[in-house]
Symmetry: C2
Subunit: 340 residues, 2 copies
DNA sequence: TTTCCATTATGAACCGATTCACCGACGAAG
DNA sequence: CTTCGTCGGTGAATCGGTTCATAATGGAAA
């Protein structure tokens, strides 16, 4: 029924022998078919089919050096924000017939390193990375070794290192200002660890909004660090918050998955949204508008983020200078935060 | 500020020269450190650091053959179902220090082929694939060439080909039977193209439930093929459905993203759920319970699916025989389908 | 008929690692 | 004093492609 497993993969030598030509000719059929006469070409093509020969990528790359694969490392592949970014990347790469290897660091610097090394060993053209902590030395070292690097969702501190990011300070500010305008005077912020730059910057934005309103952040801001940037983290954070009798009347969540967990927990605990507590999320994922209480959220141009990053990477490969792109987020107001 | 780009990546020869040893010794330091005297080892390690040498993976693999990377191809990386599966895969692979390359076929057989070829050229240990259409010949051929293959979310027709799947016939039946029990006598099925096996099988399940209830599927079932298996597809399908005056009072959606689009459209059109129309989804993604109208859905053991698939792949690499695993889905009833 | 050029094919060198047969030195045993 | 085993290290062969200098062939031009 099924074909037996071959003893050994067919090599270009086997093809050459079967087609009774030299290995050079087989290679030419593969890479420069026009330099081979039609009759020989046919013989070689037949032999290739006969042996179901697939060229060994390692050997090819070892000799030729070039490759059309790039890598991307994101913090959490289960987060719609990152998958949308990945789609943007793929859409750009497809135009140039590049392929993407996607990896997931789970916010773990060690995993990030491991994948970077894997990519480098496989000789990728370049990598797009959402750094999982503050440090980017290893990325600079990587680049020094000839691998193109583009920072993803994180602005570059260096002029000659490309980056594509969204203004997270502004995003945090938009969210907090909105809550203040709704009459809230104290805000809870379910944030991720400060090792992650985005979290720090959104925090900065929140503080800025509070100060602009004449409030003292030490008083008006309750920051809770969630154990993970997803629904379970949001649930844990919200429980911690509700444990305190004197909790704020507004919650700003570092992303929509966290907000999802918050909404779930509030509902279970009988806290009404937005009547008792207002909630604002971040990312404006697909389902944000369809929730029991439609979620106010900070929208980011996810697809464009990925698309542009891939763009910069391909440009860098072609010798173009580095560039720092910064997109602006926008607030989408829905029921979860508006006073009834 | 930043280190300049090196002319050329350092090779094992450069290291050997700098450390004044032979290349064989450097290789030993890398792979069998105990066979090298401490003093020489130190010299070599210093040289490696000095040149920031990273071994060329292509060369290594070309010579050594072995590799600890596997590939996975899913239909849509933006679908939470597949990202959960991917997490399951990663969790299993991490145990054995394998790494995952993830790719996205977008239900396009050509893209699937492209990634399979990429994986094969890079000499992966094996691949896990959610086939994007009915045919699996190319996967059998791939396996015949020595690449381990595990079918993902699709049961194998061959005894000696591993697969991990969920019983989709049963899932479709569960959903349809539930709707019939709620008193509906005609059901709309927003399904994907029949090229995708899961869609065919869920359809079979629906038909089976209808027949068991003594209904004629030709009468009681209105199947609409959505243009894409996501929220936009669900919206399009629902609009098509509403265009007919005499539409069924129940909609079964082939996945939760489609259901999300359906709920959105029904709301926009002023159709009440479940009062006017009942809706059932498939996958039970995280947000299903939190929607405006909590969504009844067929739950699948996503994480286990991926975990087990990776398990079988690693087992196959170790010489274990093929195995077909079939999980059973379960229906989670919520407000979107229960008569008020 | 000879010369010359274009076309097509050849085969060896090379990419950068791993692996293994072999060698030199040194200490222990006979 | 020889013999032998061990340890540490060497360097050439090898993996499977690409590339390029070179050769063979044949037809057109002189």
């Amino acid at each position: 029924m099924s074909t037996p497993v071959q003893r050994r993969r067919a090599s270009i030598n086997d093809v050459a022998r079967l087609a009774e030509v030299s290995v050079g000719t087989v290679s030419n059929v593969l890479n420069r078919p026009d330099r081979v006469s039609p009759t020989t070409r046919e013989r070689v093509v037949a032999a290739i089919a006969e042996l179901s020969f697939v060229p060994n990528g390692s050997a090819r790359q070892l000799r030729a050096g070039t490759i059309t694969t790039v890598g991307a490392i994101v913090l959490d592949i289960a987060n719609p924000f990152f998958t949308d970014v990945a789609r943007g990347i793929e859409d750009r790469l497809t135009q140039d017939d590049y392929t993407l290897m996607l990896a997931n660091s789970e916010e773990d610097p060690e995993r990030e390193q491991r994948y970077l090394r894997l990519f480098e060993e496989h000789g990728v053209q370049g990598v797009m990375v959402v750094p999982s902590d503050e440090r980017i030395d290893h990325l600079l070292a990587l680049r020094a070794r000839g691998v193109n690097v583009v920072l993803l969702d994180r602005s570059s501190p260096l002029d000659d290192l490309s980056s594509v990011a969204v203004d997270d300070v502004s995003g945090g500010e938009l969210a907090a200002r909105h809550l203040l305008e709704q009459g809230h005077t104290r805000i809870a912020f379910l944030n991720g660890p400060h090792a992650i730059r985005q979290c720090v910057e959104r925090h900065t934005g929140v503080v800025r909004a509070l100060e602009a309103a004449g409030l003292d952040p030490a008083e008006a801001l309750v920051e809770i660090t969630v154990p993970s940037l997803n629904a379970d983290g949001g649930e844990a954070g919200t429980r911690e918050l509700l444990a305190s009798a004197d909790h704020p009347s507004a919650i700003f969540c570092v992303n929509d998955l966290t907000a999802l967990g918050a909404l779930r927990t509030l509902r279970h605990e009988g806290v009404r949204v937005p009547d008792d507590v207002a909630v604002v999320g971040y990312d404006d994922v697909t389902f944000a508008a369809e929730l029991g209480t439609p979620l106010t959220s900070v929208r980011q141009p996810t697809h464009a983020l990925g698309f542009r990053a891939a763009d910069l990477l391909l440009a860098a490969a072609a010798g173009a200078p580095a560039e720092q792109v910064l997109f602006q987020p926008e607030l989408v107001v829905r029921a979860s935060s508006t006073t009834p």
